[in-house]
Amino acid sequence: MVTLKELQVEELYGPGHRMCAGCGAAVTARMTLKSVKRPAIIVNATGCMEVASTIYPYTAWSVPWVHSLFENASAVASGIEAYLKSKEGGKINEDIIVFGGDGGTFDIGLQALSGALERKHDFVYVCYDNEAYMNTGIQRSSATPEGAWTTTTPVRSHSPGKTGLKKDLVAIALAHHVDYVATACTAYWNDFITKIQKATAVEGPALIHALAPCPLGWRFKTEQTIQMGRMAVQTRYFPLYEVEKGKYKMNVNPHQESLDNFLKMQGRFKHLFQPENASELNLLKSQIEQRWLALQDLCQGKHPTWS
């Protein structure tokens, strides 16, 4: 259990950055830095978080921070980690944290992430997932959910929004035998902070898949960001669970709030409520349901049913 009062007052991710008003990713970055106990070194992939926080000569960061390219954040982090580890006698004293958006993680950055996880570098990968390439203007990524409108999966007569399942990042990380993988959302701050602390304590890689609601990209009001996160969890749209050494645990048991209400609050899903898109809406719902059931199986130590 963590209390807010015990968190450090000093702002290591400071004001003056140019993330949108109400940005879920900004809350994620700030909360991550509030959670770490040792000096942090940040490696940031190209994307919203990097671009909006380091417009020369202004930097929002009061920790050592490096951005190089879009797909290589994990590789850059590998180099930093391996060198500092050798310099500091085999065990690094810093918390190396890689921030990547869903685009830079699920898609273009997947290779480098895979390599870094496989080599067991001591770092924490925090994917802030706003479910599209938001920085370049809301294009679809492989983390965009079924049916969502994006600029490259528009809603037109021959295009019902994005089609296809969202990649399972947690499963991908687990395929690399990573000791600690978890989903998180800043709306559940206690869970989030605890998970960052657990992840940084692991000697080796850890991955946090954090949902970062985006007012501009999902089309909701700026004051609803935390509410969106909460509802995403409560509707089972984004279950909060962790996997420690292969053992699954559901961290928050949702009240199962209405998924329809949640989807209706977002402009990107509005079209799903037209009668002609009913099958797409049902497809999204059945995917959410299926994944929930599979997770239930996994949490009970059973092999998941998947059809």
Binding site: T54, S68, L84
Partner: protein, 394 residues
């Protein structure tokens, strides 16, 4: 009494690996590609034997290899990587990034042809494809030079007036795989010449800095101008470092290597290992009274334009042995630099750009002799700048 010299038989790759370990390199990350593989294998052998301080990380692609080196370097390490051809091409965006971030990496490039078609043998197309990336580029002639240049490259790259990354280019197979007698340098002397790196600007929790910022149109150009200035500082630093190396170790290096240029009417210009064959042929032709000479370019970036122009000023014809193409241009990349160098001269030699030796095609003395002969004829029957292919079957 004869002085005893210790010679060690080593291939160019082994020599580079040895030099890396000796040069107090903290971090190496690489991905295998023919014909660079032996460099990486030998480094991991030497690291595995245990008495080095070098950390070696195997990665999953060249893009990640150089990225890991950038990370380590920003954390304060002296870093090294090696690649060839497709690997270098894959690194392309990272090359610009490395130079732009002013990271003093050293990379050995085992020059090999670029696909397609796929070809694993030596030519210069890989490095030429990235020649504008902001890296210092030196082409060595043999394994001894490769050994010596890794050390000197770190000194030039890490100089405060430079802070640019450096490629040591070596012809694939010809230099990487041929075994030559190498004079190694004792560790005490190496330590004196290239002591461990002390990076001031780095990722340090005690002094947090932000690397890799976004610059808008109001700032970008100023940082590019800084890179230009750094490149302009290279010649002076190059001279200082090579002078120091010569004093300590006894082997001196220059940016350009002239041979029999006095009274030469035809000069063959080249990069890399073919230069040796060219000198051999030139010597033979000179002994027959033909007014020929050769000029090897060692330092390609920054190109020593003024010195080059002076050296070839009195020739009638410059024949360029070009092992790369610049498709769509009137001539290849090396010849382009030569044209640039000669532009303001009131009188200029004719330039005959000969595309040869692509994809590892052998450059035997007979072929080189043809270059000189064509050059001798060209004085009377060719126009100012021409490009042709040597030995390509019709």
């Amino acid at each position: 009494m004869l002085e005893k010299i210790q010679l060690t038989p080593m291939s160019g790759s082994e020599a580079v690996a040895k030099s890396v370990i000796q040069s107090n390199v903290d971090f190496v990350s690489a991905y295998p590609i023919t014909p660079q593989t032996i460099i990486v294998e030998r480094i991991s052998d030497l690291v595995g034997e245990g008495d080095t301080k070098t950390t070696f990380v195997n990665v999953e692609s060249e893009h990640s290899a150089i990225s890991a080196c950038v990370g380590a370097s920003l954390a304060g390490a002296r870093s090294f990587t090696a690649t060839s051809s497709q690997g270098l091409a894959l690194m392309h965006e990272v090359l610009y990034l490395t130079s732009g971030l002013r990271v003093p990496l050293v990379m050995a490039v085992a020059n090999r042809a670029l696909s397609a078609p796929i070809n694993i043998h030596g030519d210069h197309s890989d490095m030429m494809g990235s020649r504008d990336s902001g890296w210092i580029q030196y082409y060595v002639e043999n394994a001894q030079e490769a050994y010596d240049w890794v050390m000197q490259a770190f000194r030039v790259a890490e100089d405060d007036r430079v802070m640019l990354p450096f490629t040591v280019n070596m012809d694939g197979y010809v230099i990487t795989h041929s075994v030559e007698p190498i004079t190694l340098i004792d560790q005490t002397t190496v330590d004196k010449f290239v002591p461990p790196r002390q990076a001031k600007t780095r990722l340090d929790a005690n002094s947090p800095m932000t690397f890799g910022t976004l610059t808008l149109p109001d700032y970008y150009s100023e940082f590019k101008r800084q890179q230009e200035e750094a490149m302009r500082n290279v010649p002076a630093v190059f001279d200082q470092v090579t002078d120091e190396f010569a004093k300590l170790i006894g082997r001196g290096y220059k940016n350009l290597v002239p041979f029999e240029l006095d009274g030469a009417k035809v000069i063959v210009v080249s990069l890399g290992s073919a230069s040796g064959t060219i000198r051999y042929v030139a010597r033979g032709l000179r002994s027959k009274g033909l007014p020929v000479g050769s000029l090897r370019v060692g330092l390609f970036r920054p190109f020593p334009s003024e010195e080059f122009a002076k050296l070839v000023a009195n020739a009638d014809v410059v024949v360029v042995l070009e092992r790369a193409m610049s498709l769509g241009s009137k001539c290849g990349p090396l010849a382009s630099e030569i044209v640039n160098s000669l532009y303001d001269r009131p009188s200029q030699p004719k330039i005959l750009d000969v595309i040869a030796g692509l994809g590892g095609r052998d450059l035997a003395p007979e072929a080189i002799e043809k270059l000189f002969k064509t050059g001798l004829e060209a004085a009377s029957n060719r126009s100012g700048l021409e490009m042709e292919f040597l030995g390509v079957r019709e």
